[in-house]
Subunit: 343 residues, 2 copies
């Protein structure tokens, strides 16, 4: 900046004002400064800017993503997170922010990160243990939760109506004449999203006068493997079922694989319903009928909300519920009147 100032024949203060426009600067000086900036290829040093008094912002937002090691692969837990992360990055960049990612097992070290890097705000994707949320509050910075049912009033929330989505899915399957419907889900106890989706399934059954049966609910982690696992457990059991409602596309994909391996055809022998509408889901064979949520929109809204809260610290806590809709593809078929599908 000194060089720029010298080249423009002014002091650094004038340069700073010329850039920020926080004080009037003559057109002529401004032009000379802009000229010098261009010639010298000057880019302001964010570290200095952050450190320097008053403004205090780093234009950095942190994103916490669950990470697991799946079969030796280090990666974001699934495609779902990648999609959100992509949209967050783009949206943030358009608003002049950068994104620091931190896949995490939710240890308190993330809190230190927020302080260390002067994060302006944080977006937390997914569910974590309670203590995590307790810890995060201490940071005193704006935080937006995506897909969390943490009911702490401190946080903003962006999510969908999971129960309703699951209700839609189940109702659709019921409307297609199915009555013996299994539910594949993540860990109900730990995961509020899964709890809601189970509730939606239950509501739909109730509405159609179908008894809810505990043994038709298959829990596991939310990954391909446990989709397979659940499908195998289902097939090994004595339960005869004509349809599966999965609480996540990724589970449905795993299940489809397991059915395929055993010669059970989707949708002819068994109908399969997903949830999320990942990009891949439309390219499966058959295409996965599923509940669509606008994943990118989730990321965008979270960014917008976060930045609004950054600029408006007193903003009351918001809760954004994004729409879901059912998308029909080929994985659900009318139940045959004579219900003789042995699964």
């Amino acid at each position: 900046m000194k060089d720029v100032a010298k080249a423009a024949g002014v002091t650094t203060a004038a340069v700073s004002y010329a850039i920020s426009g926080k004080r009037p600067i003559s057109d002529e000086t401004r032009k000379r400064v802009e000229q010098a900036i261009k010639e010298l290829g000057y880019a302001p040093n964010m570290a200095a800017r952050t450190l320097s008094s008053a403004s205090r912002d780093s234009k950095l937002i942190g994103v916490v993503v669950p990470q697991t090691e799946g079969g030796g692969r280090l990666m974001f837990q699934n495609q779902f997170y990648s999609e959100i992360l992509g949209s967050i990055e783009l949206c943030a960049r358009q608003k002049g922010y950068h994104v620091l990612i931190s896949a995490t097992d939710a240890n308190e070290s993330y809190l230190m990160l927020a302080k260390e890097r002067n994060l302006d705000g944080i977006i937390v994707i997914g569910m974590y243990p309670d203590e995590f949320y307790q810890q995060m509050k201490k940071s005193q910075i704006p935080i937006v939760l995506i897909d969390s049912y943490c009911n702490d009033h401190y946080y903003h929330n962006v999510r969908i109506d999971d129960a309703y989505g699951s209700y839609l899915a189940t109702r659709y399957v019921l409307e297609n004449g199915h009555r013996d419907i299994a539910f594949f889900s993540g860990r109900i106890k730990e995961n509020g999203v899964m709890k809601k989706r189970l509730a939606g399934y239950r509501d739909a059954l109730l509405e159609y006068g179908v008894e809810f049966r505990d043994e038709l609910v298959f829990e596991g982690d939310i990954d391909y493997k446990d989709g397979i696992e659940s499908a195998n457990r289902l097939m090994d059991s004595r339960n005869s079922v004509t349809a599966v409602v999965a609480a996540a596309d990724i589970l449905a994909i795993g299940a489809a694989k397991a059915f395929y391996e055993r010669g059970v055809r989707v949708p002819d022998d068994i109908s399969l319903m997903g949830f999320d509408d990942l990009e891949i889901s439309q390219y499966l064979t058959p295409g996965l009928t599923t509940v669509k949520q606008e994943i990118s929109l989730k990321g965008e809204k979270a960014v917008e909300l976060l930045i609004r809260n950054i600029n408006e610290p007193e903003l009351t806590k918001q809760e954004l519920i994004l729409p879901v809709s059912l998308v029909e593809r080929g994985s659900v078929k009318r139940a045959v009147p004579a219900d003789n599908a042995r699964t």
Copy 2:
């Protein structure tokens, strides 16, 4: 830090030395400092640390990922990038670095980012226009390229032997008796990886005395859509083909979908070979036979190399070629002797 110093009854300099250990500090003082740090929950301010003289490092590395808008979805171009990104983040964190992501259309603004944020190094995934590499050199910071065939000696490179991988794939298909083999790829001109993969396909054909036919090469973007597109173009053409070698799993997945829609069965009517071995590939129906590359390893090696270069600025430029291997699943089948498959 001042508070810590006061609490420990010393000056900030002593605290700094106690933390860094760059000067001898008495055990007693060190203990008092550590105690104070714990009590006050002190976390060093990276902005100040970065700004402050000499050390000059931000412990931040940037990752450039191609980003596209696919059908309204903002996301990382495909699952492949997500997997690498995940492994980069984890590996970097373990080594005390944080990751700043920047999906980009490769404009020069990324250069400014590097300066602004005092990035210690950058990992660039994928191929970009030449000018991008010219620009990046100016930043004068360590840069590792993943999957680039930019031959500028300024950069480190981490990649696989794409030609060999593709050769393996094609040879496998040939060994299964196929002779009319199409090749689905990305843009050959713009993308060095694709160029190499095409070369490997060509080499294998040559070795087996099969004529290379231009009309059997289908180019497009590397996404599901263009996999479908290529498959449709193939099926609409008069070419009778019994197998497809795709230069990316994502293309193979799209192709499989298109075949399915038209009632062409994989692998019975047509064999399909992928490349990359994305996580999803093993869960398709049938499982995709493909060339496996260790995607996570790519990320890890890139991080290791980058950090090594950060600590060792004079490090000569490295080129790391990671291994590939063929994984057999269900999408390739022996060609029927009487070649009557009309595709």
